[in-house]
Symmetry: D2
Subunit: 265 residues, 4 copies
């Protein structure tokens, strides 16, 4: 929507219908911190069609992108929360991670991500990290209310390739649950189905890789502070951090246009 | 989306499921400029289920709101384009205006407006108007590219009640076309139906009313300038302004929560 | 600076050298909260040429302005901290309040205010207050770090005229200390003199007046949070709030251009 | 100012009085476009104590900085205009370039730059450039009014070291004219003296270097568009571009704290 202003352009279609290569761009800076929590808390965040798959390890990741082709060379950023999950349907049996929520700081990819792809994208401010020799510091806020402080300290170059999955299982990709309510019939749905972003097909290549010590602090919000997201932030803030696992920062190049996104059944 | 963080709050539901009264707030400043254009150009902007209904008069309106209850006392702004249209379905026969596009400067109402209500909402920056004794000046831009200059000059107080409709027809409300694409089956739709915002039910009361001389200038954009909206802005910029009609500025109080939005069939 | 691009325009000079009337505009919303603190803490914040004058009552005020003539109808906001002080010089003997710091959310008035007038203006973000029936809430932040929460609750209309001064003394105006360092001779000054904004001469007229219960919370900052202002914010955050005094919110119209600002000697 | 909140921190002083090394940071992206114009137009932009020195070649440069130590790892950007000039005083005889105006997108360095160093810094918005394989595009705007479009196309890696000066003369550094008005005695000055930023002493090292074809478009502004800067922007927009000279983009690391800034006499 709107539907009647000629062909729409976006991440999967440029002017004249051309596709974007996503090979030499975007340029990405990725921060990833994972921690062990309680399985019960994660299960409560899962749509019923999915099951927790393996250890209850949550990964918080932030991605700062520049030179995005479909935005004509602009950038934007995202902050997501994922944990291992599986889908066992009639036809599809996939294991991967469930992306429970993905904040982005630009409306356009939020709209296409939700409606075309089924990503649980919502908005927040994601300023570029502050970077000191000893420490990276990222924050996330909504209309000025800072709900996350994330720091990575004691950075050192890693000679290992970055860890791609959050569990030892085969990683088929990222799981989502697309949900669109029905207008006027409040409580019922127009759309409600599981969706998969296949793990394959991306041109993303890591060019730098550091590891370090990460910490995460989600700040509880009142309805007055975040009247559309306080339930989300508080649920995550309530997750017990039993033990930090892997923390990494990488620089990477490339992406994919996600046109391989597909419904699971 | 996301669906599993407890009850979501938004324009139609506060904490503990309470509704918002929308009586003493929001405080609204409304600018409205209408002009005569070519019927053919408007017909091309209509989804097939609607017909142009009466004179091809386009109304550009901006609404600057503060003290919004569901945002815990914050504000946001919108910019819309509407023209008279009718729907003649199997069951419903309504006349009103078609809201072809509605820009808003906050992601949250864009998301709920699109998914719950079927409004063709998209994002832009809408700074508060600059106000001089002689002239109001509003602009709209996307990531710094200004695509609209709107001015109202020669303001004088009007003793008339504001004009509510844009045609002489009975105004049943505002028409929209809700469209959500199907994931992975590109080109097909999960949702595609006409929707009505009934004209009745709002607590909005006008408390001040001026009329004046309005002018509108939409600025053509290249894909590089507005890679997700250039087609929309250019279509509107191409509308011939044959003659300006009514221009008004009003201050009003109150609203409705739009829970009376319904599918047309 | 810069000096060689033709006549500069600003608060005290428009195009063609014309002055601004400041009668029907700007439109102002004023929040003021005062509290009793320790005299010693305030004395430490005073330049040596001033003395604390009367009870150690600090007033925090926020002013949200729109329709400013010299900004061609735009608005901006300020947040200040004042307390009663006196100057006894060779020639001048004045009593009033010392404006220890004034945050503004726009660079232009900060520059002219500092260099032309000697106001201790610095920058911060000052979003419009959130307004609920029961409570106003204002915040101030610097690049996302929120250093102030200010709330006013239990608002009721006051039939009294607003309190103009913060003490029972005659109010000659607002005291400032203008200081400009000398380039290259670090530690010495090009300019260092006391300045007065006379209490008279403003067209500001109060049109609405409420009183209520105010609270102030300054949040301590680390150097990492506010590398240019943490010392200021922490000094204020350390002020003991012994007892809240007067809290008011007013709407007012009009101003003055401050061309009556003068050096004290 | 303010002066009485303990030791101030800024570009030349951190907590506990420590200095910043400026060796491994900041990370800088520099765009530079120079063109030949009329000597008379440049002479009109020079304070009387300076003379045009050599060919009337103007250089527009933009610098996008990240990881700035004195901002605890944050970044900001600048846009400047310089041309060759000389100062022949009683004591000092220097040749270099005159920095006629320097826009920055953060208030703090504007304040210290003006008051401590005498730079003609003013504020504007400087979003990160949009970067496509073929073209870089930078803009500058003030409260939404875009006054500059700058593009660099046909980029190719250069094996040459970047050109450091804008003329064949020895480059002693950057010339400025520090001017602070006297309060209340409108038209007279508290401070008015020429200042030099020596060319030496910076740790800045170029690590990547491209050349390309540059174009500059300054957009004329009305007082209503830029009520504090229209005279500056229009003066520059009126400069005739007779011929483009050198265009380059570089990535560099390091800086200096400018504590070697000194008064010329």
């Amino acid at each position: 929507m709107p539907t009647h202003f000629g062909p729409a352009t976006g991440p999967r279609q440029g002017p004249d219908g051309r596709k974007f290569a996503n090979i030499d761009t975007p340029k990405n800076t990725n921060i990833s911190i994972s921690f062990l929590t309680d399985a019960a808390a994660l299960k409560a965040m899962l749509p019923p069609c999915f099951t927790l798959d393996g250890e209850p390890i949550v990964t918080i990741f932030a991605k700062y992108m520049t030179e995005i082709e479909w935005l004509a060379g602009r950038g934007y950023s995202m902050l997501g929360i994922r944990f291992p999950a599986a889908f066992n349907g009639v036809k599809d049996h996939v294991r991967g991670s469930f992306l429970s929520v993905l904040w982005e700081n630009l409306t356009e990819p939020i709209l296409t991500g939700r409606e075309e792809l089924g990503f649980a994208k919502i908005y927040c401010e994601l300023p570029d990290p502050t970077i000191s020799p000893s420490t990276w510091h990222s924050t996330a806020s909504w209309l000025g209310f800072k709900f996350l402080d994330l720091t990575v300290s004691k950075l050192k170059v890693s000679e290992q390739p970055p860890i791609k999955t959050i569990s030892s299982t085969p990683d088929d990709g990222t799981l989502h649950f697309k949900y669109i309510p029905q207008t006027g019939v409040w409580g019922s749905a127009d759309v409600a189905y599981p969706v998969l972003t296949p793990a394959t097909g991306s041109n993303e290549t890591t060019i730098e890789h550091w590891i370090g010590d990460g910490t995460i602090q989600f700040h509880h919000a009142r309805w007055e502070d975040m009247p559309t997201q306080y339930n989300i932030v508080n649920t995550i803030a309530n997750l017990k951090i039993k033990e930090y696992h892997h923390t990494s920062i990488t620089k990477s190049i490339g992406s994919k246009d996600l046109s391989d996104q597909r419904i699971l059944s």
